[in-house]
């Protein structure tokens, strides 16, 4: 019998061993290190710089005066908001658009996820495909496609006019309706998948059991399915809300109003007022965080017992 007791690890392994020793947790740390370093360098530090710039003073010829400390940017944004000026209207518009889109998105996503869950075979594949394909298409294109459809001379108005449902074209685009539909189309696929992934784990038998106990079908779904998919609904709500309040492409292309995202771009690239842009971003992030927290608390409350009666 050949004995092969001698170990001959490759020199590469030997170098690795010298570096990382033998402890499993040190090896784990070494493997996680690149990701942690990346998140620190490209996410955490940049955010501290954003915070730092938001408390620097502005400058006439530079984007900001480095090395200075000042709360001017915050006070000017807050004063502007409190006097119901431009920042106030931008803030309200962003939140109204975000809130409205979120409510409609989550409602439709629940229904669509349910339809995917209940269907099978080709229909199921087609419905899933219809969710995944837009997800993989750039939001520029997703938004752009609504222009020929929704403009006053667009396809939808042509149809409405020819059916005599309206006497003159409705101006969806540019306008808040167009922006809302565009934004809805951007976030809907994510919301559907978030809810569907939870729904797919539910046993249909529980709905049958509810019906067996005398609930009508829509009612049994609302009473039994909705509470169970609450984790998915919460994810869908948070994503829809965060992205819609901060929406840029849909309102930029399909409406003439300013959302905070669009205005920040102007502040930064056109006006070169870095501290104000940074301060406004920070304020909006804080407001979004608070409202998301409130939404989360409300939904969690409903999570256990969804009593409509």
């Amino acid at each position: 019998m050949t004995t092969t007791n001698t170990h001959d690890p490759s020199s590469f392994d030997r170098i690795r061993d010298a570096v990382i020793g033998q402890s499993n947790s040190r090896r784990a740390l070494l493997l996680m290190a690149p990701l942690i370093a990346f998140e620190l360098l490209v996410f955490v530090i940049p955010f501290f710089i954003l915070l730092r710039i938001s408390v620097a003073s502005g400058s006439a010829d530079l984007p900001y005066e480095s090395g200075t400390w000042s709360l001017d940017a915050y006070s000017s944004v807050i004063e502007n908001i409190l006097s119901f000026d431009l920042f106030w209207s931008i803030l309200v518009y962003s939140f109204v658009l975000g809130g409205a889109v979120t409510i409609v998105t989550v409602g439709i996503a629940l229904f669509y996820a349910y339809a995917i869950w209940r269907s099978n075979g080709l229909v199921k594949s087609l419905l899933l495909f219809s969710v995944i394909l837009p997800l993989l298409t750039t939001l520029v294109i997703r938004t752009y496609a609504f222009t020929p459809l929704l403009s006053p001379t667009g396809t939808v108005n042509d149809i409405l006019l020819s059916l005599n449902l309206v006497s003159e074209p409705i101006q969806f685009v540019p306008g808040i309706v167009g922006a809302g539909i565009g934004q809805l189309y951007i976030v809907l696929p994510y919301a559907v998948l978030a809810i569907y992934s939870v729904m797919a784990t539910i046993d249909w038998d529980i709905v049958e059991a509810a019906r067996d106990l005398g609930a009508s079908r829509p009612r049994s779904v609302v009473e039994v399915v909705v509470p169970q998919v609450m984790p998915g609904v919460i994810v869908a709500t948070v994503i829809s809300f965060a992205w819609s309040v901060g929406s840029y492409a849909a309102p930029g292309l399909l409406s003439e109003n300013l959302t905070f995202a669009i205005y920040i771009e102007t502040l930064l690239l056109t006006d070169q007022r870095y501290p104000v842009a940074a301060a406004f971003s920070v304020i909006m992030l804080v407001l979004m965080l608070i409202s998301t927290g409130v939404l989360f608390a409300i939904l969690n409350r409903f999570g256990g017992d969804f009593d409509l009666a």
Binding site: T2, T4, N5, H7, P9, Q22
Partner: protein
């Protein structure tokens, strides 16, 4: 083919201690079974020998070398895993040759050796198969061949038979035993099944709650268990609570829930006080029913019906369970329940409701103190 020494081995996961103070010398060429219930730390001990877990403290040496800080891939130990852990993306032959490849053996040599190992475990015709297609018994053989191929100092077996059905498991036990005798290598085998341990082991180490409670030859641990846990774990027995009522120069007399005073003979002056609480273990094989020979104790004299060590209780048969080669009687004695067995189902059968008498030699009963340790009176 080596001697392995574990010294004060300890393993902690956060707050929980999985293994505590384990010290044992595993002899060159022996087959040691680590036996214990799940969670007793036996697999953790095995994984520390393999180098797959790092001990919190203590040392492991193979021959004279301290290998405690060596990672698994530098130790010449080899493990057969519970689920066999065959590589699904490699053929059976590639699986067996893997360890040789890692040791830098040339392709021709390692294939030749892998093939001969497969033949050793009667899997010579399966080299090109996908391991996921094999049956449990076949996977078990391939895993064994894979581990033996690297010619390890010690073969570690982590409950590899527990996922096989009973019949196959018993065949594999015998086969493992033969392979061990053939190779004369050191094997450490972990199991929770006492029958398996008794079938395979040269020595048995019994583990409980992270500690190695007793190590010894199979008959030694069975007949001379160190504590009540081992007595209960190694086989069914009747535990009877007792209180010492009086002692004499060569016996201890106890009062029990069975209603009769029992006698435990001693060698010389007994070392217990009156009023001490004891637990007696009365194994079914020491009990004779209505004076007939004791089952499973061939060669021994029938219980002496006189003499100072004689004990007898009477009761009523509550139910009768046929268990193939034996019959088990559940007997109600003074309100408590005991069981007795007889090997031959055809003779002297008793039915529920019959009165029977159980007798035993007081020397065969084992006594344990309240904290579970064995008491030799």
């Amino acid at each position: 083919m080596s001697e392995i020494t574990l010294h004060d081995l300890e393993k902690q996961y956060g707050e929980t201690t999985a293994v505590e103070d384990v010290s044992v010398e595993i002899r060159d060429g022996e087959l040691l079974c680590l036996l214990g219930p799940s969670g007793s730390g036996k697999s953790t001990t095995l994984r520390m020998i393999a180098g797959l877990e790092t001990p919190t403290s203590g040392t492991i040496s193979i021959e004279a070398d301290d290998v405690t800080d060596q990672p698994a891939y530098e130790r010449n130990t080899s493990t057969v895993f519970q689920d066999w852990a065959l590589f699904p993306h490699k053929s059976v032959l590639e699986n067996v040759a893997f360890g040789l490849k890692m040791r830098g053996m040339s392709k021709d040599d390692r294939q030749k050796r892998a093939q001969s190992m497969l033949e050793r475990v009667q899997m010579g015709g399966y080299g090109d198969d996908d391991p996921t297609n094999l049956s449990g018994g076949q996977k078990q053989r391939v895993a064994l061949a894979r581990s033996l191929a690297v010619n390890p100092d010690v073969l570690l077996l982590d409950e590899p038979l527990s996922n096989l059905d009973k019949r196959l498991r018993e065949d594999m036990q015998i086969e493992l035993r033969e392979i061990h005798e053939d190779l004369e290598e050191t094997f450490v085998h972990v199991t929770h099944d006492q029958d398996e341990a008794f079938t395979l082991a040269d020595r048995i180490g019994i583990m409980n709650e992270g500690e190695l409670v007793q190590v010894g030859d199979p008959d030694e641990v069975y007949e001379n268990p160190k504590n009540r846990f081992i007595e209960a774990f190694l086989g069914d027995t009747n535990f009877v609570d007792a209180v010492v009522t009086r002692t004499s120069s060569d016996a201890v007399h106890v009062d029990t829930e069975l209603g009769t005073e029992l006698v435990l003979p001693t060698d010389g002056e007994p070392d217990v006080d009156e009023g001490t609480g004891l637990t007696l273990s009365l194994r079914p094989e020491i009990l004779s029913i209505n004076g007939e020979g004791r089952p499973e104790a061939a060669g021994k004299q029938p219980v002496a019906t006189d003499g100072s060590a004689h004990n007898a209780v009477t009761g009523t048969v509550e139910n009768v369970i046929y268990r193939g080669s034996t019959v088990r009687y559940s007997v109600s004695i003074n309100g408590s329940s005991m069981f007795a067995e007889r090997t031959d189902a055809s003779t002297g059968a008793h039915a529920a409701g019959d009165d029977i008498r159980l007798e035993w030699d007081g020397e065969d009963a084992l006594a344990f103190s309240d904290d579970g340790t064995r008491v030799t009176l």
